[in-house]
Protein backbone atom coordinates (compact mmCIF):
# COMPACT_ATOMS: atom_id res chain seq x y z
CA UNK A 1 0.00 0.00 0.00
CA UNK A 2 2.99 2.28 0.59
CA UNK A 3 3.22 3.05 -3.14
CA UNK A 4 0.13 5.21 -2.78
CA UNK A 5 2.20 7.72 -0.85
CA UNK A 6 4.47 8.12 -3.87
CA UNK A 7 1.83 9.59 -6.13
CA UNK A 8 0.59 13.07 -5.45
CA UNK A 9 0.08 16.54 -6.84
CA UNK A 10 2.01 19.76 -6.57
CA UNK A 11 0.61 20.62 -3.13
CA UNK A 12 1.43 17.18 -1.74
CA UNK A 13 5.04 17.20 -2.86
CA UNK A 14 5.49 20.83 -1.84
CA UNK A 15 4.30 19.94 1.67
CA UNK A 16 6.51 16.85 1.86
CA UNK A 17 9.51 18.87 0.69
CA UNK A 18 8.76 21.54 3.30
CA UNK A 19 8.64 18.89 6.04
CA UNK A 20 11.91 17.36 4.86
CA UNK A 21 13.54 20.79 5.04
CA UNK A 22 12.46 21.21 8.66
CA UNK A 23 13.58 17.66 9.45
CA UNK A 24 16.97 18.43 7.89
CA UNK A 25 17.39 21.62 9.93
CA UNK A 26 16.36 19.76 13.08
CA UNK A 27 18.73 16.92 12.33
CA UNK A 28 21.70 19.24 11.81
CA UNK A 29 20.85 20.99 15.08
CA UNK A 30 20.69 17.60 16.77
CA UNK A 31 24.15 16.68 15.48
CA UNK A 32 25.38 19.86 17.12
CA UNK A 33 23.69 18.85 20.40
CA UNK A 34 25.07 15.33 20.10
CA UNK A 35 28.59 16.68 19.91
CA UNK A 36 28.40 19.54 22.39
CA UNK A 37 25.94 18.04 24.86
CA UNK A 38 22.58 19.14 26.20
CA UNK A 39 24.29 22.36 27.28
CA UNK A 40 23.10 23.90 24.00
CA UNK A 41 19.56 23.82 25.39
CA UNK A 42 18.08 26.19 27.94
CA UNK A 43 18.00 23.45 30.59
CA UNK A 44 20.09 23.67 33.73
CA UNK A 45 20.99 21.96 36.98
CA UNK A 46 17.76 23.35 38.43
CA UNK A 47 15.38 23.01 35.48
CA UNK A 48 16.64 19.67 34.27
CA UNK A 49 13.73 18.87 31.96
CA UNK A 50 12.36 21.35 29.45
CA UNK A 51 10.74 21.60 26.06
CA UNK A 52 11.63 18.05 24.98
CA UNK A 53 10.01 16.29 27.92
CA UNK A 54 7.11 18.74 27.82
CA UNK A 55 6.40 17.97 24.17
CA UNK A 56 6.76 14.27 24.90
CA UNK A 57 4.17 14.54 27.67
CA UNK A 58 1.75 16.51 25.52
CA UNK A 59 2.08 14.11 22.59
CA UNK A 60 1.46 11.02 24.71
CA UNK A 61 -1.92 12.62 25.35
CA UNK A 62 -2.57 13.20 21.65
CA UNK A 63 -1.65 9.57 20.99
CA UNK A 64 -3.93 8.26 23.73
CA UNK A 65 -6.85 10.34 22.46
CA UNK A 66 -7.41 8.03 19.48
CA UNK A 67 -9.44 6.01 21.96
CA UNK A 68 -12.27 8.57 22.01
CA UNK A 69 -12.96 7.67 18.37
CA UNK A 70 -12.13 3.99 18.41
CA UNK A 71 -14.07 3.17 21.57
CA UNK A 72 -17.50 4.52 20.51
CA UNK A 73 -17.10 2.90 17.10
CA UNK A 74 -16.06 -0.59 18.19
CA UNK A 75 -17.71 -0.92 21.59
CA UNK A 76 -20.91 1.09 21.02
CA UNK A 77 -21.20 0.55 17.30
CA UNK A 78 -21.28 4.32 16.75
CA UNK A 79 -21.19 4.22 12.94
CA UNK A 80 -20.52 7.94 12.48
CA UNK A 81 -16.92 7.43 13.60
CA UNK A 82 -16.38 4.55 11.16
CA UNK A 83 -14.94 6.91 8.58
CA UNK A 84 -12.44 8.53 10.92
CA UNK A 85 -11.15 5.68 13.11
CA UNK A 86 -8.16 5.41 10.82
CA UNK A 87 -7.43 9.12 11.18
CA UNK A 88 -7.29 8.58 14.95
CA UNK A 89 -5.18 5.44 14.80
CA UNK A 90 -2.66 6.88 12.38
CA UNK A 91 -2.47 10.09 14.42
CA UNK A 92 -1.60 7.86 17.37
CA UNK A 93 1.19 6.22 15.36
CA UNK A 94 2.66 9.60 14.38
CA UNK A 95 2.35 10.96 17.92
CA UNK A 96 3.95 7.97 19.63
CA UNK A 97 6.82 8.18 17.14
CA UNK A 98 7.28 11.83 18.03
CA UNK A 99 7.18 10.91 21.75
CA UNK A 100 9.97 8.41 21.25
CA UNK A 101 12.04 10.93 19.30
CA UNK A 102 11.55 13.57 22.00
CA UNK A 103 12.73 11.09 24.63
CA UNK A 104 15.69 10.16 22.45
CA UNK A 105 16.87 13.74 21.94
CA UNK A 106 16.52 14.40 25.67
CA UNK A 107 18.97 11.65 26.61
CA UNK A 108 22.44 12.65 27.72
CA UNK A 109 23.78 9.33 26.42
CA UNK A 110 21.37 8.38 23.62
CA UNK A 111 23.52 5.49 22.42
CA UNK A 112 22.85 3.75 25.73
CA UNK A 113 19.07 4.06 25.51
CA UNK A 114 18.60 0.29 25.23
CA UNK A 115 19.97 0.00 28.78
CA UNK A 116 16.32 0.53 29.75
CA UNK A 117 15.62 -2.95 28.36
CA UNK A 118 19.01 -4.51 29.13
CA UNK A 119 18.64 -3.71 32.83
CA UNK A 120 14.87 -3.77 33.28
CA UNK A 121 13.88 -1.94 36.47
CA UNK A 122 10.24 -2.43 37.45
CA UNK A 123 10.46 0.18 40.21
CA UNK A 124 11.05 2.88 37.61
CA UNK A 125 8.00 4.44 35.99
CA UNK A 126 10.15 5.30 33.00
CA UNK A 127 10.74 1.60 32.37
CA UNK A 128 6.96 1.04 32.24
CA UNK A 129 6.49 4.09 30.07
CA UNK A 130 8.93 2.67 27.54
CA UNK A 131 6.97 -0.59 27.51
CA UNK A 132 3.47 0.89 27.22
CA UNK A 133 4.55 3.34 24.52
CA UNK A 134 6.18 0.72 22.31
CA UNK A 135 3.19 -1.58 22.85
CA UNK A 136 0.78 1.16 21.87
CA UNK A 137 2.76 2.02 18.74
CA UNK A 138 2.73 -1.62 17.68
CA UNK A 139 -1.01 -2.04 18.36
CA UNK A 140 -2.07 1.03 16.41
CA UNK A 141 0.16 0.25 13.47
CA UNK A 142 -1.13 -3.32 13.38
CA UNK A 143 -4.81 -2.40 13.70
CA UNK A 144 -4.69 0.57 11.34
CA UNK A 145 -2.77 -1.30 8.64
CA UNK A 146 -4.90 -4.45 8.82
CA UNK A 147 -8.21 -2.61 8.74
CA UNK A 148 -7.05 -0.43 5.85
CA UNK A 149 -5.76 -3.47 3.95
CA UNK A 150 -9.17 -5.14 4.27
CA UNK A 151 -10.90 -1.95 3.21
CA UNK A 152 -8.77 -1.81 0.07
CA UNK A 153 -9.83 -5.31 -0.90
CA UNK A 154 -13.44 -4.44 -0.15
CA UNK A 155 -13.79 -7.08 2.57
CA UNK A 156 -14.45 -6.74 6.27
CA UNK A 157 -11.39 -6.87 8.58
CA UNK A 158 -10.25 -10.37 9.65
CA UNK A 159 -11.64 -11.72 12.91
CA UNK A 160 -8.28 -12.08 14.63
CA UNK A 161 -7.78 -8.32 14.66
CA UNK A 162 -10.74 -7.76 17.02
CA UNK A 163 -8.87 -8.73 20.24
CA UNK A 164 -6.06 -6.36 19.26
CA UNK A 165 -8.59 -3.55 18.77
CA UNK A 166 -10.06 -4.16 22.23
CA UNK A 167 -6.56 -4.33 23.69
CA UNK A 168 -5.62 -1.04 22.01
CA UNK A 169 -8.70 0.60 23.56
CA UNK A 170 -7.75 -0.58 27.04
CA UNK A 171 -4.11 0.27 26.39
CA UNK A 172 -4.69 3.90 25.34
CA UNK A 173 -5.45 5.42 28.77
CA UNK A 174 -2.60 3.42 30.28
CA UNK A 175 0.05 5.26 28.28
CA UNK A 176 -1.12 8.56 29.66
CA UNK A 177 -1.67 7.36 33.20
CA UNK A 178 1.84 5.93 33.29
CA UNK A 179 3.19 9.21 31.87
CA UNK A 180 1.40 11.11 34.65
CA UNK A 181 2.96 8.72 37.18
CA UNK A 182 6.40 9.88 35.97
CA UNK A 183 5.53 13.13 37.70
CA UNK A 184 2.98 12.57 40.40
CA UNK A 185 5.03 10.16 42.48
CA UNK A 186 8.06 12.40 43.05
CA UNK A 187 8.33 13.50 46.67
CA UNK A 188 9.93 16.93 46.36
CA UNK A 189 8.00 18.54 43.51
CA UNK A 190 4.87 20.22 44.81
CA UNK A 191 3.29 21.09 41.46
CA UNK A 192 3.35 17.47 40.37
CA UNK A 193 2.65 15.72 43.65
CA UNK A 194 -1.10 15.54 43.21
CA UNK A 195 -3.46 12.63 42.72
CA UNK A 196 -5.49 14.47 40.10
CA UNK A 197 -2.47 14.68 37.83
CA UNK A 198 -3.36 11.47 35.96
CA UNK A 199 -7.03 12.48 35.77
CA UNK A 200 -6.10 15.89 34.44
CA UNK A 201 -3.71 14.33 31.94
CA UNK A 202 -6.55 12.21 30.55
CA UNK A 203 -8.98 15.14 30.43
CA UNK A 204 -6.51 17.41 28.66
CA UNK A 205 -5.54 14.58 26.31
CA UNK A 206 -9.12 13.82 25.36
CA UNK A 207 -9.69 17.48 24.53
CA UNK A 208 -6.42 18.38 22.77
CA UNK A 209 -6.24 15.16 20.71
CA UNK A 210 -9.75 15.30 19.23
CA UNK A 211 -9.25 19.05 18.67
CA UNK A 212 -6.32 18.17 16.43
CA UNK A 213 -8.37 15.49 14.69
CA UNK A 214 -11.13 18.03 13.94
CA UNK A 215 -8.59 20.32 12.32
CA UNK A 216 -7.02 17.42 10.40
CA UNK A 217 -10.45 16.18 9.25
CA UNK A 218 -11.28 19.65 7.96
CA UNK A 219 -7.96 19.85 6.11
CA UNK A 220 -8.50 16.40 4.61
CA UNK A 221 -11.97 17.39 3.44
CA UNK A 222 -10.65 20.53 1.79
CA UNK A 223 -7.73 18.93 -0.04
CA UNK A 224 -9.11 15.49 -0.96
CA UNK A 225 -12.29 13.86 -2.14
CA UNK A 226 -12.68 12.07 1.17
CA UNK A 227 -15.28 13.54 3.53
CA UNK A 228 -15.04 12.47 7.18
CA UNK A 229 -18.62 13.65 7.60
CA UNK A 230 -20.14 16.63 9.33
CA UNK A 231 -21.71 14.52 12.06
CA UNK A 232 -18.35 12.96 13.00
CA UNK A 233 -16.81 16.40 13.38
CA UNK A 234 -19.77 17.58 15.45
CA UNK A 235 -19.51 14.53 17.71
CA UNK A 236 -15.83 15.27 18.26
CA UNK A 237 -16.81 18.86 19.07
CA UNK A 238 -19.08 17.62 21.85
CA UNK A 239 -16.36 15.32 23.19
CA UNK A 240 -13.88 18.21 23.34
CA UNK A 241 -16.45 20.36 25.13
CA UNK A 242 -16.97 17.89 27.97
CA UNK A 243 -13.33 17.00 28.44
CA UNK A 244 -12.19 20.61 28.25
CA UNK A 245 -14.68 21.53 30.98
CA UNK A 246 -13.36 18.66 33.12
CA UNK A 247 -9.78 19.73 32.45
CA UNK A 248 -10.39 23.35 33.44
CA UNK A 249 -12.29 22.19 36.54
CA UNK A 250 -9.41 19.95 37.62
CA UNK A 251 -7.06 22.89 37.16
CA UNK A 252 -9.36 25.02 39.33
CA UNK A 253 -9.33 22.29 42.00
CA UNK A 254 -5.55 22.48 42.06
CA UNK A 255 -5.70 26.24 42.50
CA UNK A 256 -8.24 25.90 45.31
CA UNK A 257 -6.16 23.33 47.17
CA UNK A 258 -3.01 25.44 46.87
CA UNK A 259 -4.46 28.84 47.67
CA UNK A 260 -7.06 27.92 50.28
CA UNK A 261 -4.61 25.76 52.24
CA UNK A 262 -2.04 28.53 51.76
CA UNK A 263 0.81 26.04 52.02
CA UNK A 264 3.72 27.97 50.47
CA UNK A 265 5.22 24.99 48.64
CA UNK A 266 1.92 24.33 46.90
CA UNK A 267 1.34 27.95 45.99
CA UNK A 268 4.82 28.80 44.72
CA UNK A 269 4.78 27.06 41.31
CA UNK A 270 1.35 28.51 40.51
CA UNK A 271 2.47 31.94 41.67
CA UNK A 272 5.56 31.65 39.50
CA UNK A 273 3.63 30.51 36.42
CA UNK A 274 0.73 32.95 36.57
CA UNK A 275 1.86 35.88 38.69
CA UNK A 276 5.62 35.83 38.90
CA UNK A 277 7.59 34.92 42.03
CA UNK A 278 10.42 36.81 43.75
CA UNK A 279 10.53 39.07 40.70
CA UNK A 280 10.84 36.25 38.16
CA UNK A 281 8.16 35.73 35.52
CA UNK A 282 9.54 34.50 32.22
CA UNK A 283 6.60 32.14 31.71
CA UNK A 284 3.87 34.69 32.43
CA UNK A 285 3.11 35.57 28.80
CA UNK A 286 2.76 32.02 27.45
CA UNK A 287 0.80 30.88 30.50
CA UNK A 288 -1.69 33.74 30.21
CA UNK A 289 -2.04 33.15 26.48
CA UNK A 290 -2.88 29.57 27.39
CA UNK A 291 -5.55 30.74 29.86
CA UNK A 292 -7.08 33.19 27.38
CA UNK A 293 -7.17 30.52 24.68
CA UNK A 294 -8.86 28.12 27.11
CA UNK A 295 -11.52 30.72 27.92
CA UNK A 296 -12.10 31.46 24.22
CA UNK A 297 -12.34 27.71 23.51
CA UNK A 298 -14.83 27.12 26.30
CA UNK A 299 -17.06 30.02 25.24
CA UNK A 300 -17.14 28.80 21.63
CA UNK A 301 -17.61 25.15 22.62
CA UNK A 302 -20.29 25.53 25.29
CA UNK A 303 -22.46 27.82 23.17
CA UNK A 304 -24.35 25.39 20.88
CA UNK A 305 -24.56 27.89 18.02
CA UNK A 306 -20.82 28.47 17.80
CA UNK A 307 -20.11 24.77 18.29
CA UNK A 308 -22.42 23.83 15.40
CA UNK A 309 -20.94 26.44 13.12
CA UNK A 310 -17.87 24.82 11.57
CA UNK A 311 -15.84 28.01 11.32
CA UNK A 312 -16.18 28.84 15.00
CA UNK A 313 -15.73 25.17 15.88
CA UNK A 314 -12.44 25.21 13.99
CA UNK A 315 -11.35 28.29 15.96
CA UNK A 316 -12.39 26.56 19.21
CA UNK A 317 -10.42 23.44 18.24
CA UNK A 318 -7.32 25.50 17.46
CA UNK A 319 -7.68 27.43 20.72
CA UNK A 320 -8.07 24.20 22.71
CA UNK A 321 -5.08 22.60 21.05
CA UNK A 322 -2.71 25.53 21.51
CA UNK A 323 -3.90 26.31 25.03
CA UNK A 324 -3.08 22.78 26.14
CA UNK A 325 0.08 22.66 24.06
CA UNK A 326 1.48 25.54 26.10
CA UNK A 327 0.04 24.37 29.41
CA UNK A 328 1.11 20.75 29.26
CA UNK A 329 3.86 20.86 26.67
CA UNK A 330 5.76 23.58 28.49
CA UNK A 331 4.39 25.13 31.70
CA UNK A 332 3.65 21.92 33.56
CA UNK A 333 7.15 20.51 33.22
CA UNK A 334 9.08 23.74 33.73
CA UNK A 335 6.81 24.87 36.57
CA UNK A 336 7.54 21.66 38.47
CA UNK A 337 11.18 22.71 38.79
CA UNK A 338 10.48 26.26 39.95
CA UNK A 339 11.30 27.05 42.66
CA UNK A 340 14.08 24.49 43.02
CA UNK A 341 14.58 22.29 46.14
CA UNK A 342 16.37 25.21 47.82
CA UNK A 343 13.44 27.57 47.25
CA UNK A 344 15.49 29.48 44.72
CA UNK A 345 14.61 30.32 41.16
CA UNK A 346 16.49 29.48 38.00
CA UNK A 347 14.41 30.31 34.95
CA UNK A 348 14.18 28.39 31.72
CA UNK A 349 13.57 29.33 28.14
CA UNK A 350 14.32 27.06 25.15
CA UNK A 351 17.25 28.06 22.96
CA UNK A 352 17.17 28.31 19.16
CA UNK A 353 18.84 24.92 18.48
CA UNK A 354 16.58 23.29 21.05
CA UNK A 355 13.50 24.77 19.34
CA UNK A 356 14.76 23.73 15.90
CA UNK A 357 15.25 20.14 17.10
CA UNK A 358 11.71 20.15 18.52
CA UNK A 359 10.38 21.60 15.26
CA UNK A 360 12.26 18.93 13.30
CA UNK A 361 10.59 16.20 15.36
CA UNK A 362 7.16 17.74 14.80
CA UNK A 363 7.95 17.84 11.08
CA UNK A 364 8.95 14.17 11.24
CA UNK A 365 5.69 13.33 12.96
CA UNK A 366 3.72 15.26 10.39
CA UNK A 367 5.61 13.49 7.61
CA UNK A 368 4.56 10.11 9.03
CA UNK A 369 1.04 11.44 9.45
CA UNK A 370 0.97 12.78 5.89
CA UNK A 371 2.17 9.50 4.40
CA UNK A 372 -0.25 7.39 6.45
CA UNK A 373 -3.20 9.72 5.76
CA UNK A 374 -2.31 9.84 2.08
CA UNK A 375 -2.43 6.04 1.89
CA UNK A 376 -5.63 5.80 3.90
CA UNK A 377 -7.38 8.51 1.92
CA UNK A 378 -6.30 7.15 -1.47
CA UNK A 379 -7.72 3.76 -0.47
CA UNK A 380 -10.94 5.40 0.71
CA UNK A 381 -11.22 7.44 -2.51
CA UNK A 382 -10.67 4.35 -4.64
CA UNK A 383 -13.19 2.20 -2.80
CA UNK A 384 -15.81 4.95 -2.38
Amino acid sequence: MLEKALRGGKWYWGWVFFLFTLIGIGFISYLHQFKYGLGITGMSRDVSWGLYIGQFTFLVGVAASAVVIVLPYYLHNYKVFGRITLLGEFLAVASVTMCMLFIFVDMGQPMRILNVFLYPTPSSVMFWDAIVLSGYLFLNLLVGWTVLGAERKGISPPGWIKPFIILAIAWAPSIHIVTAFLYQGLPGRHLWLTAVMAARFLASAFSSGPALIIILAMIVRKFTKFDPGREAIQALGRIITYFMIVNVLLFAFELFTAFYSKIPGHMHPFQYLYGGLYGYGKLLVPMWISIILAVVALILLINPNTRRNETTLAIAALATFFSLWVDKGFGLVVGGFIPNPFEKITEYWPTLPESLIALGIWAGGFLILTVLYKIAITVKEETA
Binding site: L38, S44, R112, M126
Partner: protein, 262 residues
Amino acid sequence: MGISRREFLKVAGLSAIAGVGGSWVLSIPAKRDAEAYEFLRHPKALTAKKWGMVVDLRRFKTQEDYRKVIEACHNIHNVPQFDNPKHEIKWIWTDTFKHAFPGQEHKYIMEKLEHKPFLLLCNHCENPPCVRVCPTKATFKSKDGGIIMQDPHRCIGCRFCMAGCPYGARSFNWRDPRPFVKKINPGYPLRTIGVVEKCTFCEERLARGLIPACVEASNGGLIFGDLGDPDSEVRTALRANYTIRRKSELGTEPSVFYIIEI
Protein backbone atom coordinates in the same frame (compact mmCIF):
# COMPACT_ATOMS: atom_id res chain seq x y z
CA MET B 1 27.86 -41.84 -4.90
CA GLY B 2 26.70 -38.28 -5.18
CA ILE B 3 24.90 -35.99 -2.84
CA SER B 4 21.94 -34.04 -4.10
CA ARG B 5 21.75 -30.28 -3.83
CA ARG B 6 18.80 -30.58 -1.50
CA GLU B 7 20.63 -32.96 0.86
CA PHE B 8 23.71 -30.78 0.82
CA LEU B 9 21.69 -27.74 1.87
CA LYS B 10 20.01 -29.77 4.61
CA VAL B 11 23.32 -30.92 6.08
CA ALA B 12 24.91 -27.51 5.70
CA GLY B 13 21.94 -25.81 7.36
CA LEU B 14 21.88 -28.23 10.28
CA SER B 15 25.62 -27.89 10.81
CA ALA B 16 25.29 -24.12 10.82
CA ILE B 17 22.53 -24.27 13.43
CA ALA B 18 24.51 -26.74 15.54
CA GLY B 19 27.61 -24.57 15.22
CA VAL B 20 25.94 -21.32 16.19
CA GLY B 21 23.87 -22.97 18.92
CA GLY B 22 26.85 -24.89 20.25
CA SER B 23 29.07 -21.87 20.51
CA TRP B 24 26.25 -20.05 22.28
CA VAL B 25 25.97 -22.84 24.85
CA LEU B 26 29.72 -22.86 25.36
CA SER B 27 29.87 -19.12 25.70
CA ILE B 28 27.41 -18.93 28.64
CA PRO B 29 29.83 -19.55 31.50
CA ALA B 30 32.56 -17.48 29.88
CA LYS B 31 30.32 -14.44 29.32
CA ARG B 32 28.98 -14.23 32.87
CA ASP B 33 30.28 -11.05 34.50
CA ALA B 34 31.77 -11.26 37.96
CA GLU B 35 29.57 -9.69 40.62
CA ALA B 36 30.97 -6.89 42.75
CA TYR B 37 30.96 -9.04 45.90
CA GLU B 38 33.16 -11.65 44.24
CA PHE B 39 36.10 -9.30 44.20
CA LEU B 40 38.49 -9.68 47.09
CA ARG B 41 38.12 -7.00 49.69
CA HIS B 42 41.06 -4.78 50.59
CA PRO B 43 42.36 -5.96 54.01
CA LYS B 44 41.95 -2.47 55.48
CA ALA B 45 38.57 -1.71 53.86
CA LEU B 46 36.16 0.16 56.12
CA THR B 47 32.71 -1.41 56.37
CA ALA B 48 29.43 -0.44 57.97
CA LYS B 49 25.78 -1.43 58.18
CA LYS B 50 24.77 2.09 57.19
CA TRP B 51 27.20 4.93 56.68
CA GLY B 52 26.10 8.27 58.03
CA MET B 53 27.41 11.75 58.72
CA VAL B 54 26.90 14.38 61.38
CA VAL B 55 27.67 17.96 60.36
CA ASP B 56 28.93 19.89 63.37
CA LEU B 57 28.90 23.52 62.25
CA ARG B 58 30.41 24.75 65.52
CA ARG B 59 33.73 23.64 64.10
CA PHE B 60 33.31 25.73 60.93
CA LYS B 61 34.32 29.26 61.79
CA THR B 62 35.93 30.88 58.76
CA GLN B 63 35.31 30.76 55.01
CA GLU B 64 38.58 28.87 54.83
CA ASP B 65 37.15 26.00 56.91
CA TYR B 66 34.40 25.47 54.33
CA ARG B 67 36.68 25.98 51.34
CA LYS B 68 39.13 23.31 52.50
CA VAL B 69 36.37 20.71 52.80
CA ILE B 70 34.78 21.52 49.45
CA GLU B 71 38.09 21.62 47.61
CA ALA B 72 39.28 18.36 49.13
CA CYS B 73 36.24 16.65 47.62
CA HIS B 74 36.11 18.46 44.29
CA ASN B 75 39.83 18.11 43.62
CA ILE B 76 40.10 14.38 44.13
CA HIS B 77 36.89 13.65 42.29
CA ASN B 78 37.73 15.77 39.25
CA VAL B 79 34.64 17.93 39.69
CA PRO B 80 34.67 20.53 36.87
CA GLN B 81 34.29 24.26 37.51
CA PHE B 82 31.99 25.83 34.90
CA ASP B 83 31.59 29.57 34.41
CA ASN B 84 27.91 29.20 33.52
CA PRO B 85 25.92 28.60 36.74
CA LYS B 86 23.31 26.64 34.75
CA HIS B 87 25.90 23.96 34.03
CA GLU B 88 27.22 23.87 37.59
CA ILE B 89 28.41 20.54 39.00
CA LYS B 90 28.85 20.22 42.75
CA TRP B 91 29.18 17.33 45.17
CA ILE B 92 29.41 19.33 48.38
CA TRP B 93 28.60 23.00 48.76
CA THR B 94 27.12 25.56 51.15
CA ASP B 95 23.87 27.45 51.47
CA THR B 96 22.11 29.38 54.22
CA PHE B 97 19.64 27.86 56.70
CA LYS B 98 16.64 29.24 54.81
CA HIS B 99 17.63 27.41 51.63
CA ALA B 100 19.01 24.29 53.27
CA PHE B 101 15.87 23.80 55.38
CA PRO B 102 13.07 25.53 53.45
CA GLY B 103 9.97 25.92 55.59
CA GLN B 104 11.94 25.84 58.85
CA GLU B 105 13.00 29.48 58.75
CA HIS B 106 11.01 32.29 60.34
CA LYS B 107 11.08 36.05 60.51
CA TYR B 108 12.60 36.24 63.95
CA ILE B 109 15.33 33.67 63.52
CA MET B 110 18.59 34.29 65.41
CA GLU B 111 20.94 36.26 63.25
CA LYS B 112 23.85 33.86 63.69
CA LEU B 113 21.80 30.97 62.36
CA GLU B 114 20.34 33.00 59.53
CA HIS B 115 23.71 33.79 58.00
CA LYS B 116 25.58 30.60 58.89
CA PRO B 117 26.54 28.58 55.79
CA PHE B 118 25.36 24.97 55.94
CA LEU B 119 27.29 22.24 54.17
CA LEU B 120 25.09 20.34 51.75
CA LEU B 121 25.70 17.03 50.02
CA CYS B 122 23.90 13.86 48.99
CA ASN B 123 21.93 12.54 51.98
CA HIS B 124 22.46 8.87 51.11
CA CYS B 125 18.84 8.23 52.01
CA GLU B 126 17.74 4.91 53.39
CA ASN B 127 14.72 5.22 51.16
CA PRO B 128 16.09 7.04 48.11
CA PRO B 129 13.67 8.33 45.45
CA CYS B 130 16.53 8.62 42.93
CA VAL B 131 17.18 4.87 43.09
CA ARG B 132 13.47 4.12 42.79
CA VAL B 133 13.07 6.18 39.62
CA CYS B 134 16.28 5.26 37.74
CA PRO B 135 15.26 3.16 34.71
CA THR B 136 18.61 1.37 34.37
CA LYS B 137 19.80 0.83 37.98
CA ALA B 138 22.65 3.22 37.15
CA THR B 139 22.03 4.71 40.56
CA PHE B 140 21.72 2.10 43.28
CA LYS B 141 22.16 1.49 46.97
CA SER B 142 25.38 -0.35 47.75
CA LYS B 143 24.97 -3.61 49.65
CA ASP B 144 27.76 -2.63 52.00
CA GLY B 145 26.95 0.48 53.99
CA GLY B 146 23.92 1.64 52.01
CA ILE B 147 25.79 4.26 50.00
CA ILE B 148 23.81 5.68 47.07
CA MET B 149 26.10 4.94 44.16
CA GLN B 150 26.16 6.28 40.64
CA ASP B 151 27.45 4.24 37.70
CA PRO B 152 28.55 6.77 35.07
CA HIS B 153 28.98 4.04 32.48
CA ARG B 154 25.42 2.79 32.66
CA CYS B 155 23.64 6.14 33.11
CA ILE B 156 21.63 7.10 30.01
CA GLY B 157 21.31 10.72 31.10
CA CYS B 158 17.51 10.79 31.37
CA ARG B 159 17.74 12.97 34.53
CA PHE B 160 14.74 11.30 36.16
CA CYS B 161 16.88 11.05 39.32
CA MET B 162 17.37 14.82 39.31
CA ALA B 163 13.61 15.33 39.21
CA GLY B 164 13.21 12.69 41.92
CA CYS B 165 15.82 13.98 44.38
CA PRO B 166 14.18 16.45 46.80
CA TYR B 167 17.60 17.74 47.92
CA GLY B 168 19.07 19.02 44.65
CA ALA B 169 22.06 16.77 45.26
CA ARG B 170 22.54 15.68 41.68
CA SER B 171 24.41 17.38 38.86
CA PHE B 172 24.37 16.64 35.15
CA ASN B 173 27.21 16.97 32.65
CA TRP B 174 25.56 19.41 30.25
CA ARG B 175 28.82 19.54 28.30
CA ASP B 176 32.23 17.89 28.22
CA PRO B 177 33.69 18.36 31.72
CA ARG B 178 37.32 17.66 30.81
CA PRO B 179 38.40 21.20 29.81
CA PHE B 180 36.92 22.52 33.07
CA VAL B 181 38.87 20.34 35.47
CA LYS B 182 41.87 22.40 36.53
CA LYS B 183 44.13 19.54 37.54
CA ILE B 184 43.04 16.03 36.68
CA ASN B 185 43.50 13.41 39.38
CA PRO B 186 44.41 10.26 37.44
CA GLY B 187 43.34 8.13 40.40
CA TYR B 188 39.64 8.83 39.91
CA PRO B 189 37.57 8.47 36.73
CA LEU B 190 36.52 11.65 34.99
CA ARG B 191 32.91 11.61 33.89
CA THR B 192 31.77 12.11 30.31
CA ILE B 193 29.21 14.32 28.66
CA GLY B 194 25.56 13.47 29.34
CA VAL B 195 25.69 11.60 32.66
CA VAL B 196 24.59 12.44 36.20
CA GLU B 197 27.01 12.54 39.15
CA LYS B 198 27.06 13.29 42.85
CA CYS B 199 28.76 12.54 46.19
CA THR B 200 29.37 8.84 46.85
CA PHE B 201 30.63 9.18 50.45
CA CYS B 202 34.10 8.47 48.97
CA GLU B 203 33.23 4.84 48.47
CA GLU B 204 36.53 4.41 46.60
CA ARG B 205 38.44 5.62 49.69
CA LEU B 206 36.44 3.56 52.18
CA ALA B 207 37.31 0.49 50.11
CA ARG B 208 40.99 1.26 50.73
CA GLY B 209 40.57 1.98 54.42
CA LEU B 210 40.45 5.79 54.15
CA ILE B 211 37.73 8.06 55.53
CA PRO B 212 35.95 10.43 53.10
CA ALA B 213 38.09 13.32 51.85
CA CYS B 214 35.74 16.00 53.20
CA VAL B 215 35.75 14.38 56.65
CA GLU B 216 39.54 14.24 56.61
CA ALA B 217 39.76 17.95 55.72
CA SER B 218 37.07 19.06 58.17
CA ASN B 219 39.11 19.19 61.36
CA GLY B 220 36.40 17.28 63.23
CA GLY B 221 33.53 19.32 61.79
CA LEU B 222 32.23 16.34 59.83
CA ILE B 223 31.72 13.17 61.83
CA PHE B 224 31.46 10.01 59.79
CA GLY B 225 30.70 6.46 60.80
CA ASP B 226 28.36 3.51 61.03
CA LEU B 227 24.79 4.42 62.00
CA GLY B 228 24.21 0.73 62.66
CA ASP B 229 26.85 0.61 65.40
CA PRO B 230 25.66 2.15 68.72
CA ASP B 231 29.25 2.82 69.79
CA SER B 232 30.32 4.58 66.60
CA GLU B 233 31.40 8.20 66.60
CA VAL B 234 28.30 9.33 64.68
CA ARG B 235 25.96 7.58 67.08
CA THR B 236 27.77 9.12 70.04
CA ALA B 237 27.43 12.56 68.45
CA LEU B 238 23.74 11.94 67.73
CA ARG B 239 23.15 10.90 71.35
CA ALA B 240 24.86 13.98 72.71
CA ASN B 241 23.41 16.71 70.47
CA TYR B 242 20.14 17.99 69.07
CA THR B 243 20.23 17.21 65.35
CA ILE B 244 17.91 17.72 62.42
CA ARG B 245 17.77 16.34 58.90
CA ARG B 246 16.74 18.00 55.64
CA LYS B 247 13.09 17.44 54.63
CA SER B 248 12.73 14.39 56.85
CA GLU B 249 8.95 14.71 56.47
CA LEU B 250 9.29 13.20 52.99
CA GLY B 251 10.17 9.82 54.46
CA THR B 252 13.43 9.47 52.57
CA GLU B 253 15.37 8.87 55.84
CA PRO B 254 18.46 10.99 55.12
CA SER B 255 21.74 9.76 56.64
CA VAL B 256 23.22 13.25 57.02
CA PHE B 257 22.42 15.02 60.30
CA TYR B 258 23.00 18.63 61.34
CA ILE B 259 23.81 19.69 64.89
CA ILE B 260 21.78 22.80 65.68
CA GLU B 261 23.78 24.74 68.21
CA ILE B 262 26.06 27.49 67.19
